[in-house]
Amino acid sequence: MKTTKFLKIALGLIVTFAMVSCVQDDDYTIPSSLGNEENTGLNNLLNQISTGTVELKTITEVRELAVQYEAISIESEIAVKGYVSSSDQTGNFYKEFFIQDDPSNPTATLKIVLNQVDTYNQFNQGREVYIYLKGLYIGETNTGDDVTTIGGKFDTFDNDILAITSNQLGNHVFRSTTTEEIEPVELNLSEISEFHIGMFVKLVDVQFPRSLSGLPYVDPTDDFDSQRMIESCAEDNEFMMESSSFANFSQMTIPTDGKGTISGIINKTYDGYDLVINLISTDDVIMDDPMRCDPFNIDDYTAVFTEDFNDAVDNTNLNLPGWTNFAEEGSELWTEQAFGGNGYAEFSSYLSGDAVNVGWLVSPGIDMDAQEGEYLFFRTAQHHLDSVDNTLEVYVSSDFDGSNVLSATWVPITTNLADINNDWYDFIDSDLIDVSGYTGTLHVAFKVSGSGTNTQLDGAYHVEDFNILIEN
């Protein structure tokens, strides 16, 4: 049949067309040419470096070109190599990244400003980057902020360095295929200096203050950045962490239930006055030690035993119930003192007349089996202390019989005590001393050694707010 034949031809034609006439498919295979252009750019630069047309400088050398408060145009044929130290993946950096001269032992850094967001997915952390510097500028993005920066333009009004434009980028900034692991420089808070600006560092033995408990990284009432305090455990030191309200972790809660390490990039505040640390990610906040190192807050504890010495009768030998006042050498005893309504115990060799004074003040016995988790806490102060040989020592004993001080076994306690470095009369908190390991009846002894005849050794010690505590 003729019609059937036509039909077959027609359908055959259509099927054929359907198969051969393809339009854009939905396949996004990565083209083999991907990155060729950039590789060519890098190879050209490397060739020029090897032939000497372009000189490869270290970051330290490049930084020497900078003159503060000026935008210096780089006109010589030089290039620089570095490893990207920062990342804007979380939005805490904006249109900028830092490079450092070595992945693990950096000695110098540069900030690169460019007109591009989400630079992390191109200039990823650890990426080896070459920058052809001729035609770019070196200076500061906010003149005077001490952050040496490479940019593409500058503001003629205030010499601020402006971003490398997207057109400049392809001619000046080249990635190699290498990405190195960036090892953070480990630092105590006291060690941080301008030297570290732009470096990936790890702050060790730190925690966030308890007062930040429950708060987010960025205060919702701040328009741009929030500063949050970091405390050192090992040192009496603090440092600021600064986070952008545009960071995606801005509303995450700051971890305050432990201590540990915080890694990030050392940077300057916008005004250039202060050093701060900028996080790359909250993954770098590792509070893996649940034991915080806080100065103690008595409200968090309940006292099993407490003595505030506020019943003291001024300038009388101490005779509080249960306390043992014993002179091992000389005749001077601990005294009760009251000053401005506050009572405390004092031992002073001043004008005692004895060549050697050793005085013990022993607490009443504490029943260590009646509860768990006991801490010892007290405060001490000094005045007229002239020598480290004029000592205060603290001991505990679980076999003191209540009268015979010298026959008991005294275990020395190392803790924070008032010493020659403190101001006179300043009460210094002891550490929160864990005494939960003791059983039976525990006594605590304060032992002062001095001299009534040697004026270098006739200072005085105060003891105050003696407590045996358990956590609430």
Binding site: K2, T3, F6, L7, A10, L11, L13, I14, V15, F17, A18, S21, C22, V23, Q24, D26, Y28, T29, I30, P31, S33, L34, G35, S87, Q89, Q116, V117, D118, Y120, N121, Q122, N124, Q125, G126, R127, T165, S166, N167, T179, E180, E181, I182, N248, F249, Q251, D283
Partner: protein
């Protein structure tokens, strides 16, 4: 007209009459009764033609041929010499002189109709399907509803005005119903027909029945725009085949189609099959690829005289590249073909936004002629499949849009520190020379993130698809009976059940081996809170996941009365609609309101309409229609943010539509004209939109009592209780001035405005819900196509089977879509609740004045020729649209970014607006060529 000879003068009439009767007629004599009957066949095949309208000229008496091409007048035909006019869409009308004698039966057999080449080929153009379905143009096109019309006004609206997105009476396509074999195909989601579901099947969709406006349809109650029923019964196709090839530069570049119909075979079987393909790498807009296949099969078994069963399957998988609306700045730097959605990759233009539709339709139809007067038609339709719209997500990268506002010169020129001309120049050159998506950078970003050295990272970019997978079952029964020769009764019941699965799906990781994070990168919320921080891969669901369940039960009944002087009808309907959202994921931003089933909504809609046609004489008619309809809002306008939560528009209720029209119709052998006045009012409608707002100064969040200082947010804008008023007049006139030349003129003058000041509130994951504002929209124009359109044209039809035509079309009163939020008090109040210090009402009025686009004229040409070679026909057709290459805006919308006075003022004072309105432009000069071969 080939038979004009027959009517040239009365003296010739008789001799011709005798001549004709000698050939065609037999005269039988019966006692008393005068009967006029006959049959009509196709000139060449002698196949009977059904649905031919046979009228006695100068009277209102008319009748249609049945399936066997036979007719008989039921009314008394005037005695003496009369002229019989036979016509059908797609055929050249003919006139036959007859003599009716009292008491005799006049049986006129073998009258023939010839296929009208021009009409047939107009069908062939089939309005470029992309225009019909163009959801990226933001404009809705109703032309598909009208293309089968014989009325000069509607044909002009369909074929000449469609590229301007002209809408008849300013109404959207959800006001019309599209049926296939009596089953409604409009989507429950938005009430609109999804034209792609049957695109490219032109050959088999020619058999269409259109009722316009409120006129009663034999199949359903219908909306206020009308009903088109496409009949795809296999037995209704003429035996034969057709092969077509077309070439165009509008949407696809090539089209091949083939179809074959068996005609009625032995044993009562008939089948029709069709296959087609349309494809192209690029239409008029850059990188708008087109890739569509079409398959159709219909088989019918006529069991006996009373019963027939038909099974039809339609499968038209298609993919299309979308194009972007752009600001004027972008058009000025590029051109009107510019599309920001694509970029070069490996030497190929890759479009990131592809719309893919694959929704097969299966239907079983039972036809039962209970008696010669009564029939019952029962249908089951089942549709399933998917609609996908792809786009790039950039959770870990910069906005990949090459026309992102910060990349354009206007941004540097509006620098708060003063215009940065150097940067602006650089941006301008970059945009002119590039300005497309940088796929290589996107792939490189993901590959960079794969590097494990300092910790691998999820993909920065991903290509995903917004999916809507609907499964819908429709069952209906349509009952027709002729109570007597004057009264026709139709009734029907329908049940629809829809399960719509909506989700995002990753379709390409674009080089990432790590995967992509299923978390909102903007504010960190978990999309799927039960599986936090999940990394998703190709084929995984992403972003949102929910179902919408819907049941619709409806019934209607109507009666049509036909008398000598007057025809009239009354019709009524009742519909019950339920919607329920079932959240499959818990969105972290909406804990407690996103997972699980939401409230089950129940709407009851009623409809009542009636109308009459008064025949003053056969030449002069008056037609009046009026109706009142209440209906459920569409799913789209019911849920304020269905992707993320179960919230519904507060205080939602049924929409109410009041509509009426009155027409004067003039019919003479030479001139046909119709003048209509119309009025429609739509009340209590809702409109939901989504955008990124900047300048939300006066937001007081009711829940939580927390004061916030959010001034920018991605928001859902709920406009509720919107009233719109549409009124105007239409004129269509055609004159057959000579046998070969026809003149046409059409005018539509309307005014479509907001008719109240609706309530507005915003919701956002950032701040919850705002207070309720009043949006002062009253008397703003409704956007969407020109409100005034005019056309004049002519057709020349040579007896040698060639023809051409030309039209000039004028459009005016096209308006930008205004931002309702800018018309609330948020616009002029500062955050302290007082007007801005610098607020100046005159300036504000200037800023808020609705933009009206320039008037324009488009000239279109068509022409064709056909040949008969043996038993075969070859047809050729060509058209040129916008011959003069006129550049014109078809639509646009105000960007929601500058939501207050200060920001809008600042932006308006810039040398170039950064957030100016975005526009769509019409196409420049385009062509369409078509060759077909019939056997």
């Amino acid at each position: 007209m080939q038979n004009e000879l027959l009517t040239t003068n009365s003296s010739m009439k008789k001799s011709l009459f005798i001549f004709l009767f000698g050939i065609f007629s037999t005269v039988s004599v019966f006692a008393q009764e005068t009967v006029v009957k006959g049959s009509v066949t196709e000139t060449i095949s002698f196949e009977p033609i059904p649905n031919v309208t046979v009228t006695i000229e100068g009277t209102v008496i008319s009748v249609e041929t049945n399936a066997s091409g036979e007719f008989q007048f039921l009314e008394q035909v005037p005695l003496g010499e009369q002229v019989l006019n036979i016509s059908k869409p797609g055929y050249t009308s003919k006139r036959y002189p007859i003599v009716v004698n009292e008491g005799q039966t006049l049986n006129i057999t073998d009258m023939t109709l010839t296929k009208d080449v021009s009409e047939v080929d107009l069908f062939t153009i089939s309005l470029t399907d992309d225009e019909l379905d163009s959801d990226d143009s933001g404009l809705d096109n109703i032309s598909g509803l009208l293309q089968s019309s014989l009325d000069v006004f509607q044909r002009t609206a369909a074929f000449e005005f469609s590229s301007s997105f002209f809408k008849v009476r300013g109404l959207n396509s959800e006001n019309g119903s599209v049926l296939i074999n009596g089953i409604e195909m409009n989507k429950l989601y938005d009430g609109r027909p999804q034209w792609s579901d049957w695109g490219g099947l032109n050959d088999v969709l020619r058999n269409q029945e259109l009722t316009t406006g409120l006129k009663p349809s034999a199949y359903n109650f219908g909306g206020i725009l009308g009903t088109t029923n496409m009949i795809v019964r296999a037995s209704k196709y003429r035996e034969g085949g057709r092969i077509t090839y077309s070439s165009s530069n509008r949407s696809y570049t090539n089209r091949v189609m083939g179809s074959y119909s068996s005609g009625l075979l032995d044993g009562g079987w008939a089948y029709t099959i069709m296959a087609g393909r349309r494809w192209g790498n690029e239409g008029f807009q850059d990188a708008t690829l087109y890739d569509a296949n079409s398959f159709f099969a219909s088989i019918e078994k006529i069991i006996n005289e009373k019963h027939s069963l038909n099974f039809t399957s339609i499968y038209t998988p298609n993919r299309r590249g979308k194009s972007s609306p752009n600001t004027q700045e972008v058009y000025d730097l590029k051109d009107i073909k510019y599309n920001e959605y694509w970029g070069w990759l490996d030497g190929e233009k890759k479009n990131s936004r592809i719309k893919e539709v694959e929704e097969p339709i299966l239907m079983l139809n039972h036809y039962w002629d209970i008696s010669s007067k009564t029939s019952l038609n029962t249908n089951i339709g089942y549709q399933f499949g998917k609609i996908g719209n792809s786009r790039l997500d950039y959770g870990g990268g910069g906005n990949p849009s090459p026309a992102y506002y910060q990349l354009l010169p206007s941004y540097s020129l509006s620098d708060p520190d003063g215009p940065d001309y150097a940067q602006a120049y650089e941006d301008e050159q970059n945009f002119i020379n590039g300005g497309q998506i940088d796929w290589e950078r996107i792939l490189d970003a993901n590959i960079t993130n794969n590097d494990p050295t300092n910790g691998e990272k999820p993909g920065a970019y991903v290509l995903y698809e917004d999916r809507s997978d609907d499964t819908q079952l429709t069952v209906n029964s349509i009952f027709n009976t002729e109570i007597n020769e004057n009264i026709l009764v139709n009734a029907g019941v329908t049940y629809k059940n829809l399960k719509s699965e909506n989700f995002g799906e990753i379709i390409d990781l674009l080089g990432s081996t790590v995967g992509y994070l299923n978390v909102d990168s903007f504010d960190g919320f978990q999309y799927d809170n039960q599986n936090p921080d999940r990394v998703v891969f190709e084929g995984d669901k992403f972003r949102y996941n929910y179902n919408i369940l819907s049941d619709v039960v409806s019934g209607y009944a109507q009666a049509q009365f036909k008398y000598n002087k007057v025809d009239f009808y009354v019709s009524g309907s009742v519909t019950n609609t339920t919607y329920q959202r079932d959240g499959l994921w818990e969105n972290e931003a909406y804990l407690g309101n996103s997972l699980g089933k939401g409230e089950k909504l129940n709407f009851t809609g009623i409809g009542a309409k009636g109308g009459l046609t008064y025949k003053i004489t056969g030449k002069h008619l008056i037609d009046v229609n009026a109706g009142y309809i209440t209906q459920a809002p569409s799913i789209r306008n019911t849920y304020s943010n269905s992707r993320e939560n179960n919230s519904i528009v507060e205080g939602i209720s049924e929409e109410k539509i009041t509509s009426g029209d009155i027409s004067y119709i003039f019919r003479s052998p030479i001139v046909k004209a119709k003048l209509t006045g119309f009025y429609s009012k739509i009340e209590d409608a809702n409109e939901i939109s989504f955008y990124y707002a900047d300048g939300l100064t006066n937001i007081n969040v009711e829940t939580g009592g927390v004061s916030i200082n959010e001034t920018t947010a991605f928001v859902q804008e709920v406009l509720k209780g919107v009233d719109k008023k549409h009124f105007g007049a239409e004129l269509g006139i055609e004159a057959q001035v000579t046998p070969t030349i026809k003149l046409k003129g059409v005018a539509s003058v309307g005014q479509y405005t907001y008719d109240n000041n609706p309530e507005l509130y915003l919701t956002s994951s950032g701040f919850g819900r705002t207070q309720t504002f009043t949006s002062n929209l009253k008397d703003y124009k409704v956007a969407g196509g020109p409100q005034q359109a005019y056309s004049v044209g002519f057709e020349y039809r040579d007896p040698d089977y060639w023809w051409f035509g030309a039209t000039a079309n004028f459009f005016s009163n096209t308006y930008v879509d205004v931002s309702p939020l800018n018309r609330t008090e948020n616009f002029y109040l500062d955050s302290d609740g007082l007007p801005f210090n610098n607020y100046d009402e005159d300036v504000a009025n200037q800023l808020l004045k609705q933009e009206e686009f320039d008037d324009y004229m488009v000239v279109n040409l068509t022409g064709g020729k056909s040949w008969k070679i043996g038993d075969y026909y070859i047809g050729f057709f060509a058209s040129v649209n916008n011959l003069l290459d006129k550049v014109y805006k078809t639509g646009g919308f105000e960007q929601g970014r500058n939501a207050n006075y200060e920001q809008l003022l600042e932006d308006s004072n810039n040398p170039k607006r950064v957030f100016g309105s975005k526009y769509w432009y019409g196409r420049g000069t385009t062509y369409f060529l078509n060759v077909n071969f019939r056997f």
